[in-house]
Symmetry: C2
Subunit: 312 residues, 2 copies
């Protein structure tokens, strides 16, 4: 039997799973901390892959989803946030030398889009925009059944687009990006500012710093400041989605990431703003706006889709 191995690299944990070719359920999987005592993250990753290697067949390819700026053509990680030493790391080369099979590397948000397109909410769509809203905001785009990568793999950074000129500083160092006003930490930060301005809220009683999850829970319990915070974030996201409809004219928009689990309190204002920000109803014809289907396995599924694409 032939297998693919899918790997999801994060700053906190490394996951790997072994899938029989043509199947979406893994036969073997494991997860470990990315950093632990004296072993390096690369050694830990290689050991993890070895530990789930199938005993009864051969592996056709390894797909790896990794955060941060990478070069998917060269298989190099430019800089992995929160993984010490992973700067200009030729990860593909390391893994191919170790395991002697083809290895493909992709940006995690790009691969989440690929996974949703191939196995999740986007099945059957040729033109897809995927946005993941969590600690940061990442994106992935499928155009005519192909993943948008750009000249050096840096395309589809859909969270690093100016939506509020001269707005708050983004983690990337520029101002007013969508990520700086609508990702989880930005939502929590805005609420804290309002609290310090004396706006009444049940969140006054919660220890600081706040999290977007706490804001989401307060909103569900009816707290008006928390509801406003989600409306504000949703409106920023939706307005930019309107622009993305003009740019990509997709047939589906998929929203993933932890913050999207807040549900309608975020998604309804998002949809309203998106619909308000297209200049012709033409862009909304047959358009599907939905949430991601693959859940916490989206990184593995994206890496699986990438591995499978190397031999298909």
């Amino acid at each position: 039997m032939n297998y693919y191995i899918a790997v999801d690299v994060g700053g906190t944990q490394l996951r790997a799973a072994c899938y029989p070719c043509g199947q979406l359920t893994y036969s073997k999987a494991d997860r470990i901390s990315t950093q632990y005592q004296s072993t390096t993250p690369l050694e830990r990753l290689e050991n993890l892959i070895s530990s789930i290697w199938p005993g009864d067949g051969s592996v056709s390819a390894i797909g790896v989803a990794a955060p941060g700026p990478i070069d998917p053509f060269l298989g190099v990680i430019h800089k992995a946030p929160n993984i010490p030493g992973w700067v200009e790391l030729p990860l593909r080369q390391h893994l191919e030398q170790r395991f002697k099979i083809p290895v493909a590397l992709g940006n995690d948000a790009n691969l989440a889009a690929l996974g949703e397109w191939k196995y999740g909410a986007g099945i059957g769509h040729r033109h897809l925009v995927y946005l993941t809203i969590s600690t940061g905001i990442g994106g992935g785009v499928i155009i005519d059944n192909r993943l948008l990568l750009g000249a050096h793999g840096g395309a589809a950074e859909l969270g690093h687009i100016t939506v509020l000129p001269d707005g708050p500083m983004c983690g990337c160092g520029l101002r007013g990006h969508l990520e700086a006003v609508a990702a989880g930490p930005a939502i929590a930060r805005w609420v804290e500012q309002q609290l310090s301005n004396g706006v009444p809220s049940s969140l006054n009683k919660i220890a600081k710093p706040l999290t977007a999850r706490e804001v989401g829970e307060a909103a569900k319990a009816g707290d008006s400041l928390a509801i406003s915070a989600l409306e504000r974030a949703g409106t920023f996201i939706g307005s930019l989605l309107g622009d993305y409809l003009h740019i990509f004219n997709p047939s589906i928009v998929i929203i993933g990431g932890g913050v999207s689990k807040t549900g309608d309190l975020l998604l309804k204002p998002m949809q309203a703003a998106m619909e308000k920000h297209v200049y012709s109803p033409f862009y909304l014809d047959d358009l599907v706006l939905t949430t991601a289907a693959l859940g916490d396995d989206v990184g593995l599924m994206g890496a699986l889709a990438l591995a499978a694409s190397t031999v298909e």
Copy 2:
């Protein structure tokens, strides 16, 4: 001998040219007014095509560049600005019935990008962003050697993106789009506002309404208000180009359209703003920023590229 016929449809004039296959110089071409007395624009277009039909061979395909929202897959013009009656016009079907050969239809800005990529400033680039700045701002994008069209052909509307939330009204009915702050009429309008606020300028003496060309000439003569107007427009365009680098990661950005002929007074602030609005110098590696090469024939050359692509 085999030929392609290229057609450039505008609200003011219709152009058509006949190119021997594989050649970039037409053997026969003509242009006429779009509207004249009792003939309809469609009759005039069909007569124009007949008038340049080659006598010594057959035509393999007709490519048509048309303004406004169109469906390139169906060959339908949804609405041509300034051409009365061209609403939901199945132009491809009309021309195929009349001439009995394949006809392909494309949005003029999209086809300008295709033309520049195939025959102009973008030769050899797999990932290209093209922006045309004139009465409006249109765009076209090449991704991995293919034209970005989207699900229904409405993609790459790169001028209809919000750059100044709650800014001036755009011709499309939404506020704060790039077109509403940086196209020719927007540049002229901003100068008129400054004049009415008492800002001194040599443009005070020019009859109103002003044109962007007059602003450009005053700027070249050293008028500081006119220079500021071009800097302002260039900065808006460049900031959005920075976002487009994050979205498309192209290897070349091409600026076309009448307003781009103003030269460095517009282009230098544009380039500075673009470079300031990328979060990593990575996006500027090997990036070419240049002006369009095809000049006034860009519409015909784009239509030629489209015609050729139908049989290649």
